[in-house]
């Protein structure tokens, strides 16, 4: 088990280095001369040469790559052009609200997706199955930036059930101010016992979480259905049936047990996808996370910030996959023996 974990961690490390190299290459395909841009529109030729030297762009590419790798490792991710702060500290402030949003969305997706997948697999080909399959394909076909706007229109502007945008009600800002400890608004409100604020943060979380959940819910329902259908013909299921277990026990307990491994892998996958999907949704909901930061960086063409977000999300994605792999191997001996 330890050997498996060590090998898996080493592999993840190699992938992270590869990811850094790819972002470095992306940064260097920028057409035009970054030194000229840095020096300003009216700089003379000699000033541009000086700027190139100052920025280290006159060194060979390999040397630049090594110093970039060193910078990333030591926490120097560059300075954002639009916020004028260190990219890494910007990212660390923006990450908790985004994680809160994505984790809530994934919980919603699991709670909705697994029962729907099981229901669908119960009678394949019947109307309920067709409807759930169509619904899950609709979920993965959803342009979520559009869904965000439509839900805002229907549920906050027309029906006035839910707030349109923001993290919590601005009227609570003075009566029940949020004390920032962890950076996760719901958790901060909870640990400080700030009940009005807790209610408000949860209410503001609903719409964006539903939007981010659309894709993972569809994916999970499909995976559960496919996995359970693959398992249901096997002898241990037949045995459970012979022992007289009820149909729901057979599906929920025995068939689902084997389906968990691929479903958990899919959840790690959609965790990364959903973090990127926040790029499209957060600015619509005025949610102060990585997505809003990324959208602002893109609209100001802030290259260090764009690369920083890319790297951050890619590393989060690699780590999520690593955690799922190791946990699965700990639970399921077939994986670590492979």
């Amino acid at each position: 088990m330890l050997v498996f974990a060590a090998r898996r961690i080493a592999l993840a490390f190699v992938v992270v280095v590869g990811v850094i190299v790819v972002t470095f290459i992306v940064a260097h395909v920028v057409p035009g001369d970054p030194a000229a841009t840095w020096a300003g529109p009216h700089a003379s030729a000699s000033q541009i040469v000086q700027a190139r030297k100052f920025l280290g762009l006159d060194r060979p590419l390999a040397v630049q790559l090594v110093s970039y790798l060193g910078g990333v490792a030591s926490g120097n991710w560059g300075v954002s052009i639009h916020t004028h702060r260190s990219v890494l500290s910007d990212l660390l402030t923006a990450a908790p609200p985004s994680l809160e949003l994505v984790i809530t969305a994934l919980v919603l997706a699991i709670v909705a997706g697994i029962p729907l997948g099981l229901l669908s697999a119960r009678r394949p080909g019947r109307p309920a199955d067709q409807a759930i399959r169509a619904g899950s394909i609709l979920g993965i076909s959803m342009p979520i930036f559009w869904m965000a706007l439509i839900l805002q229109l229907v549920f906050s502007q027309r029906l006035k059930w839910l707030p349109a945008a923001g993290e919590y009600s601005p009227s609570l800002l003075f009566t029940h101010p949020l004390v920032r400890r962890t950076g996760f608004p719901v958790i901060d409100a909870l640990i400080s016992g700030n009940l009005p604020m807790l209610g408000s943060t949860l209410k503001y979380l609903i719409l964006p979480a539903i939007v981010v959940a659309a894709y993972p819910a569809g994916l999970i329902a499909r995976m559960v259905r496919a996995q359970v259908l693959d398992t249901i013909g096997e002898t241990h299921i037949l045995n459970a049936r012979a022992l007289g277990f009820g149909e729901w026990q057979i599906f929920g307990r025995f068939a689902m047990k084997l389906a968990w491994t691929p479903v958990a892998a899919a959840i790690a996958l959609v965790f990364g996808y959903s973090l990127v999907n926040t790029f499209l949704v957060e600015s619509i909901f005025d949610w102060p996370g990585l997505g809003s930061y990324a959208a602002a960086s893109i609209s100001t063409l802030d290259t260090p910030a764009i690369l920083g977000v890319t790297l951050f999300v890619a590393v989060a994605y690699v780590v999520a996959n690593l955690v799922v792999d190791v946990v699965q191997a700990a639970i399921d001996p077939r994986i670590r023996l492979r």
Binding site: V16, G18, P143, L149, I150, L153, A226, F279, L280, T310
Partner: protein
């Protein structure tokens, strides 16, 4: 897509009668196929069937600005008075065509690399697959976004950015196919008979891979359309007069309340197109995969 005319397609794995029964048993496939056909027809004849074809471009109608849907303008008009129905129809020529180009590029890069990795094995396989792994370590939208953000915003950059993240999936697919075919006894027999590697690849490995590649392509069209629309929504793809659906949603966002139709219809077009292609791809996969047969 695969650039050799000498391939003889493998016989359909399923007899014709079963195919029809399959379609009846899988109405989702029939619906998806029908809608895809409709979208293709609209895309081809858009300038002829759109009520105001000029509105797909720079036309402005200052007295028709932001009109709600009516008999004259079924989907309403936008902020400069252009007919949204016409723009949505001509828009069927933008992101779906990008999807076709992206997937053609992905196949062009991915198929040779995958065949090389799976058939040759050894260090070639190692190198190709490790590079592929690094690309697969990014969520696809993320890397496409970073690339599109550093390239100048245009449809060409958008296409390049998405193609640059899509090829690794085809390497994986083809590698698996090539490795499994290369290990079969009849291919070993071919080798023993002294048949050249190239002709084994063209006569046996590629024909065996056509079906999974086609299924994968039909599954991916929806994903590429969604990615392209998302990048255009963020302002990284199509620019103003181009009637791209994602861009239309982004532009309509400013007039969203109370003029809901600017956002609603182009977004609906994205959803319907992606949905139809995903239904088609999903149905095709079921049809060709005997293990996942819905006839059981």
């Amino acid at each position: 897509m695969i650039e050799t005319p000498t391939i003889t397609p493998p016989k359909a794995a399923i007899p014709r009668g079963a195919m029809w029964r399959g379609l009846r048993a899988n109405p989702l496939l029939a619906v998806g196929g029908g809608v895809v056909l409709l979208i293709v027809i609209v895309a081809i004849f858009a300038p002829l069937v759109a009520p105001f074809p000029a509105d797909a471009g720079t036309a402005t109608h200052p007295f028709e600005v932001l009109k709600a849907p009516s008999a004259a303008h079924w989907f309403g008009t936008d902020q400069v008075g252009r007919d949204i129905l016409s723009r949505v129809m001509v828009g069927a020529r933008v992101s779906p065509v990008i999807a076709v180009i992206v997937l053609a590029l992905a196949c062009l890069v991915g198929i040779p690399l995958g065949v090389a990795a799976g058939f040759l094995g050894g260090w070639v396989d190692e190198v190709i697959m490790r590079v592929t792994d690094v690309f697969l370590a990014f969520p696809p939208l993320l890397l496409a976004l970073a690339l599109a953000a550093v390239l100048p915003a245009s449809l060409t950059s958008l296409t390049i950015a998405i193609a640059a993240v899509w090829w690794p999936w085809y390497v994986r697919l083809l590698r698996g196919q090539a490795a499994s075919v290369a290990g079969r006894p009849y291919v070993e027999a071919c080798r023993a008979l002294g048949i050249s590697r190239l002709s084994i690849i063209f006569r046996h490995i590629l024909p065996n891979s056509i079906t999974p590649v086609l299924v994968q392509v039909s599954l991916d069209v929806g994903g590429v359309i969604l990615t392209a629309s998302a990048l255009s929504f963020l302002g990284l793809g199509a620019q103003d007069p181009v009637p791209d659906w994602g861009l239309m949603v982004a532009e309509g966002q400013n007039y969203f309340t109370p003029d809901w139709w600017l956002v609603t219809f182009p977004g609906l077009a994205i959803l319907v197109t992606a949905f139809a292609f995903n239904l088609l791809g999903d149905g095709l996969r079921d049809l060709f995969d005997p293990r996942r047969s819905f006839l059981r």
